[in-house]
Each structure stands twice: as C-alpha cells, then as structure tokens.
C-alpha cells in the first residue's frame, strides 16, 4: 500500500498527487514512470513521475483524469492509499548541456515535460518552454515551469490565454531565426503534436526527443504491448524508452495502436464521457 500524502486539483481533471514511495523516490531519474494500480481488479496504468523528494521519501504524480481508471485514482483523498505503485521504469532522460533548448508540452504532456525541464535547467541549458492547450483551463504548471525557463510561451486554440493557435507557431518562428534556433527540442503531448514538431525539426537536423505513451500492461518488457516502430526497429517503450529520437518514430503507427481498445472501452465506460480508447494519462 502506498499512502497518499496530498491530492490537489491543478486544473480541470488534472491532479497533483504526492505518494509515500521511499525506494522509488531514491532511485528515480527524470523521464521515468511508475505503473499504478489503484486496487484489486483495476488496470495497471503508466504515469510519469513528475517529481520526487528522496529525503521525504515521496514521489509526485500529475494525473489527468480522462478515463474510468484515472478518475478512480484521483478520487483517492490525502490519507488514503493506492494498492500498487511499481517503478521507476523506463530509461532516464539523457541530460546534457546543449545550450539552447526548446521544451514543448501539449495538454497533460506538460506534466511529463516538467521533470525534463527541471533536469535540463539544472544542467545549465537556456530553456524556452512552449505549452499549449485547447483553452486557458487546460494550461497547467505554468507557474512551476516559468522559473525554470528563460522564456515561457503559452498557446491556446481559442486564444483564451497566451497566443491563439498551436505550440508549433512559436516553435516555427524560433526555428526560422538563427539567433534563437535551439540545439535540441523536447516534445511531449498528443501524438499529432509530437509528429508536427518532429516534421519541423527534421530538415534543419535539430536533435528532437519525444516521450511516448503507448498502451502498457506490465511496464517491465515482458508483454510487448507498448511496441513502437523506431527507424528499422521495433522498440518497447517501457524498457527502450519512453523517450525516442522523434525523427525515427512511426507516429501514425503509434496513433493507430492507441485506438486498439476504443470499442471495448466505449462499451465498458458507456456511462462516462471517455473519448479515448485507452488511458493515455502519461
């Protein structure tokens, strides 16, 4: 059992949950995730470790409640407990001082981006962070990211906060300006967003890293459910990733595989308004 220390609502459907998990807090590095199962009979869900405090023995998870399972998880109050939390899983982010780095976060991908920005800042990078969402209500962690970034840009599709448009807008302006063009780009968000970023940085040859969120069961390399095509190879996101070279990832294949259980989930969660086939909370 893993005790919930705190559970705050950051934005609509977005919770910040702090859990007691001393071993994971000690071992965890930026970019890694945990497999979470609320109770007997529930799904195993991969969630990025947003932050950790090794001294307090706690980890922080940013959880977007978009499906039946994540909704149940975020309904656990402080003082309650989660039955299973296993990790840290996946490879840690390769962190170095590139110089100028752009970090792009879309929707809840921003929560996955947060630990990367933190680690990149600690390594001395000059970071421009671009975060986007459908509207201002979906913009998360802006206050936390601002002090870590040299510049924080916000985009919303409806223009209710920051620039009207997509995250790709400010990015393309930066790429076009030799003075501001980055040496590396990190992008985490919906698959179409990551694909668009990859397409923009491919030709200028800017190293671009994405963090992927395929369907996972065990998270330890056993089941192969999270496989993605990366270049000529089939990779397992749980052990080989979750971060990959964006220019080699088959985003269309990833996107398609994410819809595998759309029908099954729709039947099961008919009462909820879950619109995605499967939890993509990471």
């Amino acid at each position: 059992m893993f005790e919930v220390v705190s559970n705050e609502i950051l934005a609509e459907n977005l919770h910040k949950m702090v859990l007691v998990a001393p071993r994971i807090a000690r071992a965890r590095k930026a970019g890694q995730f945990v497999m979470v199962r609320l109770a007997q009979g529930e799904e195993r869900i991969p969630l990025t470790i947003g932050d950790a405090d090794p001294e307090a023995g706690t980890i922080t998870l940013f959880i977007q409640a978009i499906g039946a399972s994540t909704r149940k998880i975020v309904a656990t109050p402080a003082g309650g407990s989660i039955r299973d939390v296993a990790g840290p899983l996946g490879k840690e982010t390769h962190i170095t001082n590139w110089g100028r780095v752009v970090c792009v976060g879309g929707g809840v991908g921003t929560a996955v981006l947060f630990p990367l920005v933190k680690a990149l800042a600690e390594a001395g990078n000059q970071i421009t962070t671009i975060i986007g969402g459908r509207s201002g209500r979906y913009i998360i962690l802006a206050d936390e990211l601002a002090p870590l970034s040299e510049k924080l840009l916000i985009t919303t599709e409806d223009g209710s906060l920051g620039f009207k448009g997509f995250v790709t807008g400010p990015l393309s302006e930066m790429l076009a300006d030799p003075e501001r063009a980055p040496q590396a780009v990190f992008a985490v968000g919906p698959v179409p967003m990551m694909k668009a970023v990859a397409n923009m940085t491919r030709e200028p040859g800017i190293e671009t890293i994405v963090s992927l969120n395929p369907i996972m069961i065990d998270g330890t390399g056993m089941c192969g459910g999270c496989r993605v095509q990366v270049g000529d190879e089939t990779k397992f996101a749980c052990v080989d990733g979750p971060e990959f070279d964006a220019h080699l990832v088959d985003f269309d294949g990833l996107s398609d595989r994410l819809t595998s259980y759309r029908k099954e989930e729709a039947v099961r969660h008919a009462v909820t308004d879950c619109k995605i086939g499967k939890e993509v909370a990471r």
Binding site: R23, I24, A27, R37, G41, E42, E43, R44, A68, S69, R83, D84, V85, A86, G87, P88, L89, I217, D218, T220, G221, M222, C223, G224, G225, R227, V228, Q229, T234, F236, V239, D250, G253, D256, R257, T259, S260, Y261, E264, E265, R268, K278
Partner: protein
C-alpha cells in the same frame, strides 16, 4: 492398511484415467479441465507402482521427488506421511502435479512403461498435494528450523524463486522475495491459464511459504527499484530468478497492426488482469471470431485454448513443423483438439495482412515440408515455393518465445552474461559474483516450470553451503 500386494497383482491393475470436464462445456469457461482422482482411483494407481529398487523415476525428476516412497505411503493409505515426503522434496507439489510434463520425465523412466502404461505419477502427486491442502489439520507438523541469522534475497516470485525460498526457509535462513508485478506466482499466475492451474492453488502454495516465514514484497523491480549491488549490501546471499523477458518478434510485415499480440500480453491480460474472465475487469481484451496462434509450445496451446474460451469460432495453431515435432505436452495438444482447436501444420507465417483501418485481416502463410534434421534433431522445415495462402484472422498471437529481460542485468555490470543476455552460472547456479546465484528462464532462456524449480532447489542447496562457509 499396508501396501503388500504381490508384483503379479500390481501388474494386473490398469492405469487409471483422470476425469475431465466435457470438451464442449469447458471450451466456454475457464474452469479446471482435469478433475483429479477419486480416493479409490488414487489407491489403485498407487498400487500399480512396483517399488523397484533402482528408482529410475526419481532420476527423471528435476527436483528429485522421492517418488516410490510417497507412492508407498499413499498405497498404505497413510496420506499424512505421503504429503510429508512430497512436501519435503517439492515446494510446489500441487503445481507440479498439474503442469509438469511427467510423460517425458519421471513417467518416461517408469519400469511399467516398458510394457504397458507407466504409473500415473503426476496424477498421484496432484492427489496427495490436493489432499494436503484440504486437510491441513492432519498434516505432520514440520519442526521449526533453527534460525541461522543469515538473510537471502530472492528476485522473482515464480517457480524457481518460490522453490528456492521454501528450501532456504526450511534451512532456517531469513528469506525475502522481491516480485516486480503486483501479485505472486510469476509465470504461474500471468502465464498459465486458470483451466490448467487454478489461481487458488498458487495462493495456497504461497501461503505455505508465508507460514514458513518467507516475506514477499511485490512491486519491487530489481534493476530499477533496487539494484543487485544494493541487495548485496543488505543480504548475505541472492538468488536471481526474474524469469523470461521480452517477446521475440517475428520480424514479418504487419507485426504492429491492431490485433497482433505477443503471447505474454494476451495471457497477462486474461490471467493476471482477468480481462474477459471477470465481468468487471477494467483491463480490456480483443475478441474475434478467427484467431491464429503462431508456435507449437505450451504457451501457444495456452493462448489458443484461451482464445477459444473467449469465444473464437476458429482458434488455430499455425506451426511450421508437423504435430510430431511440436514441443507442447501431448496432453495439451489432445485437450486443444477436443476443444475444437484447428491445427494448421507445416505452415509458416510470412506477413500479416490488414484491413483499410489498420486491423489484422489475415495471416499470410507459406506451406512447408520437412527436410533433414537440424541441430535440435528435429527435421528442418523448408518452404514450398508458390504455396502462399491467406488464413483469415482477426487476431494473431505470436507465441514463438522470449529473449532475456535486460532490466536487472543492465544495472549489475559485474554479472557475466552469455551472448543472448542470459546469466552465466555454474552447475550449482553460482554466478560470476560471489554469493549471487541464478536460475530459471533468466539462465536457461525459455524452459519449463519444473526445470526452473530444479534450478531453485539446486541453487538453494548451494546457497546453504555458501552461507556455512
């Protein structure tokens, strides 16, 4: 009652037949297929054993169960003693009595098999183990071992780890098992379906170990949550039995289409996560009318029989050699056939075809013929040119095998591995790091439950010696 029949009387008794659920009924549910022996059947079968002096059957058992002795106790109607003998040699008798390939091990060496049918050792093992589970109050108490003050970490709660843990606890060592998943049993729980091995059996076997003082910590991934060097500082010895790893891919076009599963994913969803088995399981599983399973081992049989139970009208085994070459147990093949599974033999997959929206529509195959024997002694399959055909399928399951899991070994640089990433050990199971032992699939690649258990037992003996040094 004593076991005092004449050899002639023993020879006159015919091998008993274990009752099974009718095939048309069981192929729609996950209830156990084999129903066990009645007391009369067990007694009669035990009396068939000639109690021969050279005990060849024991040599065929990877954990060296005292077979004639426990059968003699059973034939003498002394079940508590039979249970005590069995438990003394085998930490998981109710599991072995169900899933061991006795026909190629103990029973293959039974002298009665030379002329007629071998003694049904597996049935008797199951009978005694099940009796023991149902009659805990009649079991002979085990003398509590003298605590040695030594501690051992066991990595993995599968058959090898559980066996080693049991043996070590009985020697008085303090044992902690670290399990990566949220539940115990390893492959026994996530891999082997309920209709071959009810989960309750695993729970009960694990409870026996807990009663011996073994601690089990789930959700701890060695190599990630903790590393081997960290464990080495906290424990006097380590036994690594973290099991098989990544699925081996087929490397054919279409492998990442929707509806293509690796066997472990398919089985884990159904067995561990209870998808399709429990109405309210929150883990989904795809169900289609036509399911093609690639492979000829026990895992392939488990997949195809599971697919049938989930409602597949055509559940098919696609195997590139012939039925005689299949590595699966004879009983699994027989049960699968009775349940209506189709066997598409001498057929190799070459691609997976898709619908317009990215779902599997067919397995594209090629007919094979058998040529001369290869290194494994089995006749090598060769493609027949121009024999390509499409097998309609909505789900394709890859059950050709697994390769070594890198999670633990990646963070233990001093651990010597072979070129496939499996841990190198001595015949006793000792690795290149003193005090660290290993066994089961992480050493052998894909093997059986009983071979893993044999490794666990041997390594436990070696660890015990090591701790006394």
């Amino acid at each position: 009652m004593s076991n005092k029949l004449s050899p002639k009387d023993r020879m006159a008794i015919e091998r008993t037949h274990m009752a099974e659920l009718p095939a048309d009924n069981r192929s729609k549910n996950f209830e156990e297929v084999n129903l066990g022996l009645s007391p009369d059947q067990a007694l009669s079968e035990a009396q068939r054993c000639l109690q021969c002096k050279n005990r060849e059957c024991v040599a065929g058992c990877p954990v060296g169960v005292s077979i004639p002795e426990f059968i003699d106790a059973l034939a003498s109607d002394d079940l508590p003693r039979a249970a005590q003998i069995l438990r003394g040699d085998n930490a998981l008798p109710a599991v072995c009595g169900r899933v061991c390939p006795q026909e190629t091990q103990c029973e293959a060496l039974c002298v009665r098999g030379k002329k007629g049918d071998a003694v049904a050792i597996g049935y008797l093992e199951r009978y005694v183990a099940d009796w023991a589970m149902q009659h805990p109050e009649q079991l002979l108490a085990e003398a509590a071992p003298e605590p040695t003050g030594k501690s051992v970490a066991v990595v993995g709660c599968g058959p090898a780890g559980l066996t080693a843990a049991g043996e070590l606890a009985r020697q008085g060592h303090k044992v902690t098992i670290f399990e990566a998943l949220h539940d115990t049993g390893g492959v026994l729980r996530y891999g082997i379906p309920e209709f071959r091995l009810p989960k309750e059996i695993i729970d009960r076997e694990v409870a026996v170990l807990s009663a011996l003082g073994v601690t089990i910590e789930c959700n701890v991934i060695i190599g990630k949550t903790l590393t081997i060097p960290e464990l080495r500082r906290e424990f006097d010895a380590i036994f690594i039995a973290n099991g098989a790893g990544l699925p081996t891919m087929l490397n054919i076009p279409g492998e990442n289409l929707k509806g293509v599963y690796a066997a472990n994913e398919f089985l884990t969803r159904v067995n561990l996560m209870e998808a399709g088995r429990r109405e309210d399981s929150s883990t989904p599983i795809l169900q289609r009318d036509e399911v093609a399973v690639i492979g000829g081992g026990n895992t392939a049989m488990d997949c195809v029989r599971t697919a049938r139970r989930l409602g597949a009208k055509r559940a098919m085994i696609v195997y590139r050699r012939g039925e005689a070459e299949m590595p699966a147990r004879v009983e699994e093949i027989k049960h699968a056939k009775e349940e209506g599974v189709e066997f598409v033999m001498l057929t190799a997959p070459i691609a997976i075809a898709a619908t317009e929206d990215g779902w599997v529509s067919a397995l594209r195959c090629q007919k094979m013929e058998l040529g001369p024997p290869d290194d494994s002694g089995r006749r090598r399959p060769q493609a027949i040119e121009g024999s390509e055909f499409d097998l309609p399928a909505g789900i394709v399951i890859n059950a050709v095998g697994t390769s070594a899991n890198p999670l633990l070994t990646a963070t233990a640089p001093d651990l010597a591995l072979n070129k496939w990433g499996n841990i190198l050990t001595s015949s006793e199971g000792e690795t290149s790091i003193p005090g660290v032992f290993a066994g089961g699939d992480i050493v052998r690649g894909g093997a059986t439950v009983i071979l893993a258990m044999g490794d666990g037992k041997r390594a436990a003996a070696a660890i015990n010696d090591y701790l006394k040094r």
